[in-house]
Symmetry: C2
């Protein structure tokens, strides 16, 4: 009877896993060891883009509603750059995207005006209210915190200084070093290598579904921060966990052995 019993147990476990995928998450989580390096996406994940709505809206003749379209157009064209084997830094792509959105909506805008509307406000984004405390808790718990962004290294350093978060990070990695935008798989593999750790010893924390999709596809564990107005990409592998903010992230990671 022993082999049959084993078979039935396996079969039941298989059915349970298939029927109740929600149960799989805690099991998976238990197997994840404490990450040696936590990579953080910056814009929206740590910093609040809301304050840009005004400057971008003003550049677009009062059309604050076009902020999501601009952001999406910028992200699309960052991948157009990689797909066509070109590279311009993220601020330049963002400026071009704003000019396209303006033109497509019949709004007059010069390159200089577009650049001013984006670059300075982007460098001065405030942190979401719980971020400083959450990151501080993680650092106190012994975690190594590193940013991993599509922005330039210098840009993200300025952003973190202005948001009062610069002291919490061991390093700031920018894809400008390999000139391939996230979520290219190589960006995640390069980041782990750059920090001298294995992919499975890291963790990506991001508020963007496409970023989570890339990390998971590359073999990097990922936690999604469900900021208002953000959602997962339904066709990608699910994150290992979803949290509402960085305070909850610190609570979750604080319980790991």
């Amino acid at each position: 009877m022993r082999p049959l019993h084993t078979l039935l147990t396996l079969l039941l476990a298989f059915l349970a896993a298939g029927l109740q995928p929600a149960l799989a998450a805690p099991a998976q989580e238990q197997t994840s060891p404490k990450p040696k390096v936590i990579f953080f996406d910056v814009n929206e994940t740590l910093l609040d883009l809301e304050s840009m709505r005004q400057s971008v809206g003003a550049a677009l003749g009062g059309r604050q509603d076009l902020l999501p379209l601009w952001f999406s157009t910028m992200l699309h064209h960052s991948l157009v750059e990689s797909a066509t084997e070109q590279y311009h830094d993220f601020g330049t792509v963002g400026t071009a995207a704003l000019m396209m959105v303006a033109k497509n909506n019949g709004i007059a805008l010069t390159e200089q005006q577009a650049r001013s509307a984006i670059v300075t406000p982007l460098l001065r984004l405030p942190a979401h209210p719980e971020v400083r405390e959450g990151l501080q808790t993680l650092e106190n718990q012994g975690y190594t915190l590193v940013t991993l962004t599509n922005s330039t290294r210098r840009g993200v350093q300025t952003q973190l200084e202005n948001a009062g978060l610069a002291d919490l990070f061991t390093d700031n990695l920018s894809i400008e070093e390999i000139k391939l935008y996230k979520p290219h798989l190589r960006t995640y593999r390069w980041a782990a290598e750059r920090m001298g750790v294995k992919l499975e010893e890291t963790l990506l924390v991001a508020a963007h579904g496409w970023d989570v999709a890339g990390a998971k596809a590359a073999g990097m564990p990922a936690i999604f921060v469900a900021r208002p107005g953000q959602s997962l990409y339904p066709l990608a592998a699910e994150p290992d966990r979803t949290v509402k903010d960085i305070r909850e992230l610190a609570e979750v990671l604080g319980k790991r052995p």
Copy 2:
């Protein structure tokens, strides 16, 4: 004095080129021979997306203004697929993008509703008014016309049949065959190879800046169709020519030797 004269001539030519980039286009055009195959993008280039505004708007609780955001999100995530080495067909990516836009805007929408709002209307888009006549003129002039799209082969065939254009095309190429979305350089190279011609013997006609960017970067000549609400990607190489519609395209190509 000869070297100085040459230097001055070069300097003046350089300054003139820099100051008047518009002058570069006709010179470049003269060097292009008659293309052996003309590749056409389909959505927006030949077919009018305007009729989708209603169905997408209805799915989004009346928010017709979100159509450009949906389209941009779909294009972004088609490249997310390629960047993360995944592939879902364009209709599935479009459905996922619509669900994300709905969720990010607090609108309830099921996958089935999202799919219905997109797939059927997309297959029944009407041609822009001048397209049939313009393509017919090109065919009469002896050009070989082929579609090259991110949609599935079957999808574009249905679209062309419904729009009354199917008889004008020698073939319909879909990136589903190589599972890499335009503007990946490989898609343009593969298309030329598939038709048995050299890249420089082809021509891409598209109403999207990112498509023109990919073709030019791959070494394929390209003409931009400046449909209302569309603009070039300012950071990419310029197209060989810009036309306002397919009738003007036929006029321009009719003058070639």
